[in-house]
Symmetry: C2
Subunit: 162 residues, 2 copies
Amino acid sequence: MTSRPDPVAPADAAARALARELIDAARFAALSVIDPNDGLPGISRIAFGRTAGGGFLTLISALAPHFAALQAQPGCALMLGEVGEKGDPLTHPRLMIKARAQFVAGDDPARPALRAHWLDHHPKARLYVDFADFAFVRLIPVSALLNGGFARAFRLEPSDMG
Amino acid sequence: MTSRPDPVAPADAAARALARELIDAARFAALSVIDPNDGLPGISRIAFGRTAGGGFLTLISALAPHFAALQAQPGCALMLGEVGEKGDPLTHPRLMIKARAQFVAGDDPARPALRAHWLDHHPKARLYVDFADFAFVRLIPVSALLNGGFARAFRLEPSDMG
């Protein structure tokens, strides 16, 4: 099909800096899951934020299809990075993170701190954060691919995104 | 967990109109696939366009991980609809489409017309459309979920998106 070399390079300092910039700017993400009803891929938009320690976090409702999907199969993938106004959309950088979802129980002793930190960065979530069907879910990164535009792809480890 | 009724309604005229608006505006999409290397979800950004007949189409490179993923498992999901500047990102409408990928061979008699129509709407793709590692892929819709903001979700059939 092609004789070009592997187009994905190991992360360098510029790639790590760009990844952190995308993570810091993200307030939402695209989430890829496996739909437990048919075993096929599903996709959703989720809120995205951090823990005080820098971990990745979301707040989701049991009414959304990705809630049951993540309970059945915690392996998932996130995409961060928006497309700007100008140029080919595929030249705008995005970070694709493979992650494992870990639900935070309503009585988890860590929840109050996660909740307070979340509301500092997502103040509108105050309207629904305490609804019984909402849960915080940690998204533990496993690996990532940064695409900085055509022919600018980098493989990242969790430590590159810290 | 909750005693609320099913939050997803059948499509009505307003939902169909909003879905078509999102489809007409989309020049790219988030794509959810199953990664053939580990069986877990993968995610990418892809170009998005239409055929002259209104079908969904993308143009992808064999160097991108979703190419091999779609060849191994054509079942996939797309998300269309961008987040605007204001308000909670989760109140901005998005359309999540379950689809089946169908690769268009380089010698497919339909390819020249697909290519010409694509370049009318994605003129910058002229730079790479004829590279040997690029292929057009039809994305045949199976079903869709339109989320028009909190508590405004609709189930759509392929005929609702025509």
